[in-house]
Assembly symmetry: C2
Homo-oligomer: 315 residues x 2
């Protein structure tokens, strides 16, 4: 994730989902994420699966092949041991599916009442591709905005589970490791994939606002082209949320130069987790970094950066 | 730290303070640690300084030069912002002193009552030396046990602060990054440094029991030669603790072949953080992995692995 702790240098390059560094001559990327989701288990996933997916997807978004992960666990005294074992199994199975090795770990137990049962922190190291360089500050006017499938499913699943909404079937999180579909897009587009991002907290709205700001462009989406499942839209209406500002954990947004957009889209659609991929907008000019939405009524409105109440604890 | 989460393969090499891996052809090490210390600030340090030192020292113990760190922060809503800023500054200053870069971060805020104010999780990647290979399973009979200075200071400082013991001056934690003194020892001893460990939770007793078990040797210490500050010994008596089982955050234990012990000791003593280094015992034979203590009365007793109440939250 992009949030940083402590002081940052005054003039710095924009924060990416993972940091690039050169270790012993190798081009690597590193990322870390804390997971404090409530409830610990939700339809489509749990905190263990989420912790692996979040880190794998951040590394992919930096153009890296995810390889080695560490997991630190803060456990509240009294946590049900069967639940803990199920979460550990889910974490291990997701790591295997994503082709990453968990090579380091730490466990701390804290008193009853702290840590909401369980917090997980995963960090990951990946090997950077040399034929792609997705970054949030490379987008130019004319570039096309793609999304790998319908948005808002993760946040809606977690919120419905937390509030005990009586929905049948309950909405499912899209939580999934995106290494295959993300690297399929990078294989197809190479350097023409200007930016790749997994729109987690704050959803597509937050991610696109960050990209627009970092690249100093204006992004315009067509509301009618942004894929949202009917069920997800329904829960959003019930809870007063904008699906574009709701978290995803198994989707990415890509911004691609226009001559490569079709090839990248085709590559994404050929991958099971990218079947629902589509083009949803474009960078229409340089500017102060805003995102606008062309509504189905033909009007155009600002899609603001979500804040406060719109950023519930969903990861 | 060595504690692992989830299933481990039945036959596995002993866990080390950091995991070794080869990334893009480079020999690297990775480690992670969760910090949940109470109180957040104590004489000699705070949770920010501790988080950097713990990760730096684990990488050194694996024979790596610590280089890149990530920091994840879980903040309790309502945490005093000046305190948070002071901890972030301390973290940044310690990272600078240790010569490491914090390249990735994440921040999560949880509800009031959770997270005891603040938890920190640091992960780190270092570059492995090719001229040294300290591991817990390389110790052989005849090897000499060294310690870089007096033990027990960190645990005692934290416990005295937590319990508000009216001591003047209050005991100070030894919390410090050990990169200089650890690599001075490795420069001097190379492959003869069989094992290097920072004895954190469970102190020297836990660390030496792990080494004895992993190497299947018997380690014997001379109680009179184990350095313990008078003030630390006093607080331990007051609280009913064994200073050998109390945590350190600025010391390491090394096990070195006998022909190199003097040179390694001399190198350690030449470094400001190793001035109090001394030889405290030896590996006296193969065996089931026990540690014994020759007391000042001439008797010999088992130094057991600490457990339960002896492992308070000091990091």
């Amino acid at each position: 994730m992009r949030q940083a702790f402590g002081r940052l240098p005054a003039a710095r390059p924009p924060l990416q989902d993972a940091a690039r560094f050169t270790g012993g001559g190798a081009a690597l990327a590193m990322t870390t994420d804390a997971f404090v989701v409530k409830p610990l288990v939700f339809p489509g996933g749990d905190i263990g699966k989420l912790a692996i997916c979040g880190t794998v997807n951040d590394l992919c978004a930096a153009g890296a092949h995810p390889r080695w992960l560490s997991v630190a666990v803060v456990i509240e005294e009294g946590l049900d041991l069967d639940l803990l074992a199920a979460i550990a199994d889910s974490l291990a199975a997701t790591a295997e599916a994503a082709g990453v090795e968990v090579i380091a770990g730490d466990t701390k137990v804290v008193e009853r009442g702290a840590a909401d049962g369980l917090y997980l922190v995963t960090s990951g190291v990946g090997e950077l591709r040399d034929d792609a360089r997705p970054r949030s500050d490379r987008v130019e006017p004319g570039d096309v905005v793609l999304v790998s499938g319908p948005v808002g499913d993760h946040g809606v699943a977690v919120l419905a589970a937390r509030h005990g909404l009586p929905l049948d079937p309950p909405p499912r999180s899209d939580c999934a490791p995106l290494h295959e579909v993300a690297h399929a897009a990078l294989d197809a587009g190479g350097m023409s994939v200007k930016c790749l991002r997994d729109p987690t907290r704050g959803g597509l709205a937050a991610t696109l606002n960050e990209i627009a700001g970092d690249s100093a462009v204006r992004l315009r989406l067509d509301e009618a082209r942004v894929p949202v499942r009917e069920e997800t839209r329904g829960v959003c209406e019930l809870l007063g949320l904008d699906p574009l500002a709701v978290a995803n954990e198994g989707k990415f947004a890509a911004v691609v130069s226009p001559d490569s957009a079709d090839a990248v889209l085709e590559a994404m659609r050929a991958s099971p987790l990218g079947e629902g991929a589509c083009a949803i907008g474009e960078a229409i000019g340089s500017g102060p970094g805003t995102v606008t939405l062309r509504t189905s009524f033909g009007t155009e409105r600002l899609l603001p950066m979500p804040s406060g109440e719109l950023l519930p604890r969903i990861c």
